[in-house]
């Protein structure tokens, strides 16, 4: 079977990046990488920042907030002014206020939820200077926060957790920029568009069709969209659009790019805390869930589409091809969408709304577990570490001993912060979904009827709270209600987790390390991985089961009924 080879190749590439990119990331954030130090020096001088200055967690958080606020304003301003700015060959007018708000928040928070169609809404300048910029920055900020938490775990009796400006600049310059540039060239070589020349009108004499083919600076946005686990594509169809993701090679490259940093960060973590096995344990938990979900979703999509079968086309050799591209086929399409939903990327190369009920369930639940398998750039690692702290706490309760993680005593403050960080997302999803289904403005958004319509709403708010950005795209999200509610959902899902993480980093850094004894609960073996998986699945499963039963589960059980 061809697909098995694809999976093997992917696994091999990820193993390499785990080892070498992971090691490189550690060197970058420890300040041992210098090949762009001349740029760095200029940048720090302009910023007025002393790169040797270390920040306490509150200062780190304030820098993060101020920078995010400025970025949000700048992005919003560019979108609103695009009609007056250059590089707008289609003469597109300003993005409306509420859509501008939703989009600016969306790219700031690494979500890339899109209530617009890129090719008919955004000027080239907006795509480049407003959106692509945030695709770099939001990824670098995510990694910076994760690194500061790992610093908190690895330091002893320290008051500081790093410098926000230095971490962000280094992530952009040493990691994201070089990889994105090389990968961007590969996308274009394969067929992604990259031009500023505007759309082109072509008349086909064979069939008499005239097409206006949209173009733009696509290929180099595509690479950072995946590498930064952003997911916001240039065109409306995102990774399904052949001008964005033209071949099977770019499809696999996309999957690789969106997984490499989150996977490599587990190695970085292990190296920084002085035990690679600790990182490997986290990777094992991530990998197991990812593998099971890929298998389950791929199997579900290999089943015939019930509506197509009901229309009399019973032979569906590949499975459900509605919403999928021929050049990818069913299995490669599901691999891409699973990887994208579980890395908080949210780009799609096949339409989630047209997935089978259980295929859609696979994508939706992949996000509901909290985007930790392996999750987004940085956000995956720090959220998983919150789960790890909850897991050792539960382990400690079971044996009646003060829990420790990596030699740090986990006490009341740490457990509170970790629980807060873990619970923010489900609360945001369920409360806002509840409001949306209670209000006519929320219900009006659903495109499909029956349980599928409810799934569209639930999926949208899950996706935004998890900073994913993929959609059951039938939902009409460009309304006042969804633009506003979605913006709040994304902000809560991003900063509601980041602040507890930074506070936790500060709390952990100041602690002394307890020496390992016979009574220490080990966190680098299979027992811990199983406990961690249990916590992840029980928190995710119990929280969302009632909502899921009204959506995909009900739809799956409605045999023979159409809505």
């Amino acid at each position: 079977m061809h697909f098995a080879l694809t999976v093997l190749l992917l696994a091999a590439l990820l193993a390499l990046s785990w080892r070498y990119l992971g090691s490189y990331l550690e060197a970058v954030y420890s300040g041992r990488v210098h090949w762009l130090s001349w740029v760095e020096r200029v940048v720090y001088r302009l910023l007025g920042v002393d790169p040797g200055h270390e920040q306490r967690w509150r200062e780190y958080a304030v820098s993060l907030v101020v920078f995010s606020g400025v970025s949000l304003l700048l992005t919003y301003g560019l979108l609103r002014l695009q009609g007056q700015l250059p590089l707008n060959p289609q003469h597109l007018p300003a993005v409306p206020p509420l859509l501008g708000w939703n989009t600016a928040v969306s790219f700031l928070t690494n979500t890339n939820w899109q209530n617009y169609a890129g090719e008919t809404t955004m000027s080239y300048l907006s795509q480049m200077a407003a959106l692509t910029v945030q695709q770099f920055i939001s990824a670098a900020v995510g990694i910076a926060v994760a690194i500061s938490l790992v610093r908190g775990l690895s330091r002893t009796g320290a008051s500081t957790i790093g410098n926000f400006w230095v971490d962000t600049v280094r992530g952009c310059l040493y990691v994201l920029l070089p990889i994105a540039f090389v990968a961007g060239a590969v996308y274009v070589a394969q067929g992604s568009v990259q031009t500023l020349a505007g759309p082109v009108l072509i008349h086909d004499v064979l069939n008499g069709a005239t097409q206006l083919i949209p173009r733009g600076p696509v290929g180099f946005m595509e690479s950072i969209k995946q590498l930064g686990t952003n997911g916001g594509g240039f065109f409306n169809a995102n990774g399904a659009d052949p001008l964005e993701n033209p071949t099977q090679l770019t499809n696999l490259l996309s999957v690789v790019l969106l997984l490499i940093i989150p996977v490599a960060l587990t190695y970085t973590f292990g190296k920084m805390v002085g035990s690679r096995r600790q990182g490997l344990a986290l990777l094992a938990a991530m990998g197991l869930i990812f593998a099971v979900w890929t298998g389950f979703t791929g199997y579900s999509e290999s089943q015939p589409n019930p509506a197509v079968a009901a229309a009399g086309v019973v032979a569906q050799p590949q499975g459900n091809m509605e919403g999928k591209e021929v050049r990818f086929g069913v299995l490669d399409s599901t691999l891409y969408d699973v990887a994208s939903t579980q890395t908080s990327t949210g780009s799609v190369d096949s339409t989630p709304d047209s997935y089978t009920p259980m295929g859609g369930f696979g994508l939706l639940t992949g996000m509901m577990l909290g985007e930790i398998t392996p999750g987004g750039d940085g956000s995956g690692l720090y959220t998983l570490l919150l789960f790890a702290i909850v897991a050792v706490f539960i382990g400690g309760l079971m044996v009646g001993r003060t829990p420790e993680y990596l030699g740090k005593k986990i006490q009341s403050r740490e457990v509170k912060l970790a629980s807060l960080g873990v619970l923010v997302m489900p609360v945001a999803v369920l409360v806002i979904t509840g409001i949306a289904t209670a209000l006519p403005a929320g219900r009006a958004g659903a495109f499909n009827s029956g349980p599928h319509g409810f799934t569209e709403i639930l999926y949208a708010l899950t996706s935004q709270a998890n900073n994913n950005g993929s959609a059951f795209a039938g939902l009409n999200g460009n309304t006042a209600f969804y633009n506003l509610a979605g913006g709040i959902d994304m902000l809560v899902g991003r900063f509601g987790v980041m602040f507890p993480v930074l506070a936790l980093a500060g709390a952990l850094a100041s602690k002394q390390t307890v020496p390992v004894s016979r009574g220490t609960f080990r966190t680098d073996n299979a027992t811990f991985v199983v406990l961690l998986l249990g916590v992840i699945l029980i928190v995710g499963g119990l929280t969302f089961f009632p909502a899921l039963s009204l959506g995909p589960l009900l739809e799956q059980l409605s045999h023979g009924r159409f809505f």
Binding site: F235, A311, T351
Partner: protein, 183 residues
């Protein structure tokens, strides 16, 4: 707060210049230099080989059923995207039934790919099996022997890339352009 304002503003503006202008412009320069054909949209005189087109009648090979094919409205650019119809949607049942009936009427066998719409709405490709299913129709209408059409499909079939990545497929525009040359 105030002391953080300077680095925040300078970094936001600096990032805009570096990642928002220098990066995409350098990328465009490199692309136009090394891969001008791809960077411009893989254009041929009859259209882009990456963008599906509407084909009607028995004399052409048909692509995916992309009823909302956004680019087919003459000269008006729309947005790409799929049907977004769910697996238990009555609308989808009706759409597939109509497409299958249409294909049968002109003498093609409706395959799963031909009656479903794609994720992009502009899928340029079909599988070789989808093409073979249309061979009797095209042969009857154009007078080109079935054997020759089958050979043409096999020559134009690409993939799996690297021998194992994804399925094999045929670009419908290339297939029909070659067909036009045979006439």
């Amino acid at each position: 707060m105030i002391t953080q304002l300077r680095p925040a503003v300078v970094l936001a503006v600096g990032a805009l210049l570096l990642f928002g202008l220098a990066y995409p412009l350098a990328g465009t320069g490199v692309s136009q230099l090394l891969f001008p054909h791809q960077a411009d949209g893989s254009l041929t005189k009859n259209g882009s080989t990456l963008v599906g087109q509407p084909w009607s009648g028995p004399q052409w090979f048909h692509g995916r059923s992309d009823p909302d094919n956004p680019l087919r409205l003459d000269g008006v650019s729309g947005a790409s995207g799929g049907s977004n119809l769910g697996p238990r949607s009555r609308q989808l049942v009706a759409a597939v039934r109509a497409e299958a009936a249409q294909l049968r009427r002109i003498g093609a066998q409706p395959t799963a790919d031909l009656v479903t719409s794609s994720g992009s709405g502009i899928d340029p490709d079909i599988t070789p099996q989808d093409a073979f299913a249309q061979v009797p129709m095209v042969s009857k209408s154009t007078g080109i022997p079935e054997l020759q059409l089958r050979r043409l499909i096999r020559t134009l079939t690409v993939g799996p890339e690297l021998g194992f990545l994804g399925p094999s497929y045929v670009d419908v525009l290339q297939l029909n352009s070659a067909l036009a040359r045979l006439r």
